[in-house]
């Protein structure tokens, strides 16, 4: 069964609405537990028409789509996955606030049919809001396979909702689901959510509080579902209390629940949770028939091995190794291709166009070295971001992410992190940028921020060229050991900094680790691709703009005042001269090193390129290669893309091979090597590469942090502590080494 409908291209409901006022827009919120297949269901209904953004003020993802179905305009709003409407997590607060304040026309409640009772606990809370509900009884195929028989009719009767069995991964039942939503929107009176009876003592207390509200605060009684408001006031829900400030009646409310608390010897919140679960449990007993004999399920079989005492960690590490290799090896040929294309044909075409209009040389340099190079540096990231998003989404969708957290939590918790922090940290060794984006798998803001602060200490691939050239120049005999020492130093400092942050910036209780281990499921390819595409697009547009701006800025710094012969007199060189004395105690207090480090904020590998430009003054004799014809460029574009694809595919199968560390030795590199041999000592060289390892994250990381957290705060902290740390460690290395008389 497939769902077909016309999708309006316009994202703006209000604008479209005023034009065709004959049609009404039905706003439908989609709510459900995590792992209930909610994302898959939404992707199946709205597909690429989903508009992904953030909820105002927070970094939780918001998905929306507007489309037309059988003459009704439907606005679908995806709410974050939650287990409850309690006010303790960001996701719960968003879901609640949206439902209470925006009052959608209907709620689609996605319920995992294989895990009825816990899912119905949320349903019970949704009914308190008195908004019409259509229940998507999802993953119905799995429930049937398990031999479950669910009486949907009985459930409809008991809850006052429409129940539609669905299998979102195969698009089954979605057509009926939308029909039910429209029917409900057209005739809201046809189905009222039932007011479930929570027991006489709760109900009588609620009646008293309700009448208190009605008498004292008629405006509130208008604005909020009264029964829900009464429950929340009884529960002393901080969030609602802050919003309402019904202080004068606090005592009367307290009086109303006194009897209740005494009878149960519990706080009202717990009494209410009990009562709601009692409803969910009672209903489950009523509608669900389970087979007597329970077979050992596939998930349990897999977990017997995947979470095994001895095999759990090796298997996890193997899985991570594959993911890491796939992410970076598959994307690398494509990234390289994009890089070659922008610095090759695209640059030549731009030059040709600029030449045609007889633009001044500064403009041609701005276009080719600033703008085109900037575009290139954005595009290079695209394949790796897409690849990472794909694998992370797969890990989450398949259920393995929760296992990864389970296996690693003990080790990560020791330094104040969460089990799930391991994956971003690991990705950091490839590239810090996708690693920062990967912190989104962490639900808690504290865990997420702490992980993001430590990720830049993982030595990324862009730092490698710098190490390689210095190690090649000074420590060719001990290359492996020196390189290894840098990676280990990064990890060791991450542990130290983690412990320090845990005691200072993130003082107080570590967030809890109460996590569902969902059954293993094969995520649908469509859902995976849509998710990956959305994320990649988001990166391209949002991060791309910033990166471009920064690379143009650096062009200005490097090339102005226009016509500088000596890089020393460029703005960058001037700033380098100012900064040099600060680096003096570290053993590399010259403007060349300082300027190169500054250029490295774009991407750390640029340190090498800039050093090449500054130290090796081979300007003026640039090789004049013949300009390839336009058609040759086009041909090259196509064939090299094909070659890149082949390489990507090959890398999938050769992931076990370790990529060699040898950098291609070109003439400039060889020249650079001999220059740095004369300006650095082995000791100052080692101090320099430790500085490169530790000093501020690159601009793209900064932008990623800004995007993920919605504020510059965390990048500011990362910048400050990393600069201090880099200086301190390089200082200790150089001064300590000098004192001990090593390598001076």
């Amino acid at each position: 069964m497939s769902v077909e409908f016309k999708v309006q291209s316009s994202e703006s409901v209000a604008a479209g609405f005023s034009l065709r006022s004959a049609k009404k827009t039905v706003t439908v919120a989609v709510a459900g537990n995590p792992n209930s297949g909610k994302s898959t269901l939404i992707n199946a209904i709205a597909g690429t028409r989903l508009h992904v953004g953030n909820w105002p003020g927070v970094t939780v993802e918001k998905k929306e789509a507007v489309f037309e179905y059988e003459g009704t305009r439907i606005r679908l709003v995806d709410l974050p996955g939650v287990y409850s409407l309690s006010p303790y997590t960001q996701e719960e607060i968003i879901t609640r606030d949206y439902l209470v304040h925006e009052m959608p026309d209907a709620i689609i409640n996605v319920v995992d049919a294989t895990n009825l009772e816990r899912n119905l606990y949320l349903t019970v809370q949704l009914l308190e809001l008195e908004i019409p509900v259509v229940m998507a009884l999802n993953i119905y195929d799995e429930a049937e396979k398990k031999g479950y028989a669910i009486d949907a009719k009985a459930m409809e009767e008991a809850l006052g909702v429409t129940v539609v069995p669905t299998v979102a991964t195969r698009k089954n039942g979605l057509y009926e689901l939308l029909k039910a939503v429209i029917k409900l929107a057209d005739h809201p009176a046809s189905r009222h959510p039932k007011k479930l009876n929570y027991g006489e003592d709760i109900e009588s207390a609620a009646r008293i509080v309700e009448s208190l509200i009605q008498d004292g605060y008629p405006s509130l009684a208008e604005k909020y579902p009264q029964r829900w408001l009464a429950f929340k006031l009884m529960e002393k829900d901080d969030h609602v209390q802050n919003e309402l400030t019904i202080t004068s009646d606090a005592l009367s409310i307290e009086e109303a629940v006194r009897h209740l608390k005494k009878a149960h010897e519990e706080d009202v919140e717990s009494i209410m949770a009990d009562a709601r679960y009692a409803q969910a449990a009672g209903l489950t007993r009523e509608v669900l028939k389970r087979p007597e004999l329970r077979k050992m399920e596939l998930t349990e079989k897999i977990d017997k091995i995947a979470l095994n005492r001895f095999l759990g960690i090796p298997l996890f590490l193997a899985a991570m190794w594959f993911m890491f290799k796939l992410t970076f090896d598959v994307s690398k040929p494509l990234g390289d291709w994009m890089n070659t294309m922008t610095s090759g044909p695209f640059k030549r075409w731009a030059e040709a166009v600029v030449g045609l209009i007889h633009a001044p040389s500064w403009m041609s340099s701005l276009v080719t070295d600033g703008v085109i190079a900037g575009v290139g540096s954005v595009l290079v990231f695209v394949p790796v971001i897409f690849a990472m998003m794909f694998f992370i989404t797969f890990l989450e969708g398949s259920g393995y992410m929760a296992r990864a957290a389970f296996v690693m939590d003990r080790a990560m918790h020791a330094i104040g992190l969460h089990g799930k922090s391991f994956i971003p940290m690991l990705l950091g060794f490839g590239c810090n940028v996708p690693a920062i984006y990967a912190t989104r798998t962490l639900e808690n803001q504290r865990d997420k921020a702490l992980t993001a602060l430590l990720v830049p200490l993982m030595s990324c691939g862009a730092r490698l060229p710098v190490y390689v050239i210095f190690i090649g120049a000074f420590f060719p005999a001990h290359a492996g050991t020196v390189l290894w020492s840098l990676y280990v130093m990064g990890i060791a400092l991450a542990i130290v900094m983690g412990l320090i942050f845990k005691k200072t910036l993130f003082k107080g209780e570590a967030p809890m680790f109460i996590m569902e281990l969902p059954p293993y499921r094969m995520p649908s390819m469509r859902s995976l691709l849509i998710h990956t595409w959305e994320k990649g697009k988001h990166f391209l547009i949002k991060a791309g703009t910033y990166i471009l701006a920064v690379s143009i800025l650096v062009w200005f710094l490097l090339n102005l005042p226009w016509g500088v012969e000596n890089k020393k007199d460029s703005y960058l060189g001037q700033v380098g001269q100012v900064a040099a004395p600060v680096l003096k105690p570290l053993g590399f207090g010259n403007w060349e090193a300082a300027s190169s480090l500054m250029a490295g904020v774009i991407a750390k590998e640029i340190v090498v390129g800039t050093m090449g430009e500054i130290y090796v003054k081979t300007t003026g004799e640039e090789k004049k290669t013949e300009q390839p014809a336009f058609t040759d460029d086009l041909k090259e574009l196509g064939t090299s893309f094909g070659a890149a694809l082949v390489d990507s595919a090959k890398n999938v199968f050769s992931t076990l091979k370790i990529t060699s560390l040898s950098a291609e030795e070109d003439e400039q590199r060889a020249g650079l090597k001999s220059v740095i041999q004369s300006t650095f000592t082995p000791l100052s060289a080692y101090a320099f590469i430790t500085f490169v390892l530790l000093y501020m994250p690159c601009v793209v990381v900064a932008i990623a942090m800004r995007q993920e957290f919605g504020t510059w705060k965390w990048f500011g902290i990362a910048f400050a502590y990393q600069m201090a740390l880099a200086w301190l460690v390089a200082f200790v290395v150089y001064q300590g080494g000098t004192l001990l008389g090593i390598g001076g």
Binding site: Y83, S270, R410, H413
Partner: protein
Amino acid sequence: MNLSMLKPGESGKITKIGAIGPLKRRLMDMGVLVGEDVKVEKVAPLGDPLEVSVKNYKLSLRKKEAEGIAVEVL
């Protein structure tokens, strides 16, 4: 007796939830309620956290969090 003391394969009936505030509410939201049966399925390879089954699904929690859940061995 608390939940963290049960060995893999052992089950208990929850008699009291000692936690307070958000932790307690979160546990209850996940179906960890007084009177509920809970079975320890596994201990993570490094000794923490635990995997338990409750309300017919699998939940993981740290030992420290399990310490606050009093159980009566079944």
